[in-house]
């Protein structure tokens, strides 16, 4: 019988870690982050001079990559055994809800002018890159907490 997928296969530093599996599962997430970061850098200068349709395409490109990432993640989770599927789904629930909470909380503080803004720099973390960085941290935290009771 085929071996089921294991969450440790994408956990850097674990014995079961496989760079190929990590790329297969998270490749689109990496692509989304790169596109988002690049367009954030280019938006104030180069992109603003482009036609609206091109600007819109650049703005939504990371979200298309995120949808493809969700698809590959779902396929990978489907290949897990029931215990790990349950742990993964719990960790993802923790990660998404905690990220949503932090991003909204931070945004409210930013809008209220709590953070000092010098030279027009923004403190807003509601970007694809920031959100996925937070989500990754919360995922590992959530997985660690959820898997503790089954060790």
């Amino acid at each position: 019988m085929n071996q089921p997928n294991h969450p440790d296969e994408i956990w850097l530093g674990k014995k079961e870690y496989s760079i190929w599996t990590d790329w297969r599962v998270n490749g689109w997430l990496f692509t989304a982050t790169i596109i988002s970061g690049a367009s954030d850098i280019m938006f104030p200068h180069w992109v603003r001079q482009c036609p609206v349709s091109l600007r819109a395409a650049i703005a939504v490109a990371p979200f298309l990559a995120v949808l493809l990432w969700v698809r590959s993640l779902a396929q990978w989770i489907r290949g897990m055994d029931e215990l790990h599927r349950r742990l993964m789904l719990s960790a993802i629930l923790v990660a998404t809800s905690a990220t949503f909470f932090v991003v909204m909380f931070w945004h409210r503080l930013d809008v209220a002018g709590v953070f000092p803004s010098k030279s027009g720099a923004s403190w807003d973390i509601a970007t694809v890159g920031h959100s996925f960085l937070l989500m990754t941290c919360f995922y590992f935290l959530g997985y660690r907490v959820c898997s503790r009771r089954f060790r």
Binding site: M1, Q3, P4, D81, E82, L83, H84, F150
Partner: protein, 63 residues
């Protein structure tokens, strides 16, 4: 739930890894079931029963 999976596995002289492979799950899942930290789903419980030629009630019982 209480279960006698460890005893059944020992009778067959299988390791947790062997049993995991036969059932198509991870070794951690077998360990979690044996230590009664995780209750398997009905399909997995039936699979275990079929593998050991026992009924689910023979292997698993409520605390």
């Amino acid at each position: 739930m209480k279960n006698c999976l460890r005893e059944l596995r020992a009778d067959k002289e299988w390791s947790q890894g062997d049993l995991a492979q036969k059932l198509g799950v991870s070794r951690q899942t077998i360990n979690a079931i044996e230590t009664e930290k995780y209750d398997p789903s009905l399909p997995l419980a039936l699979k275990i029963g079929r593998l050991f030629k026992r009924s689910v009630e023979d292997i698993f019982e409520e605390r």
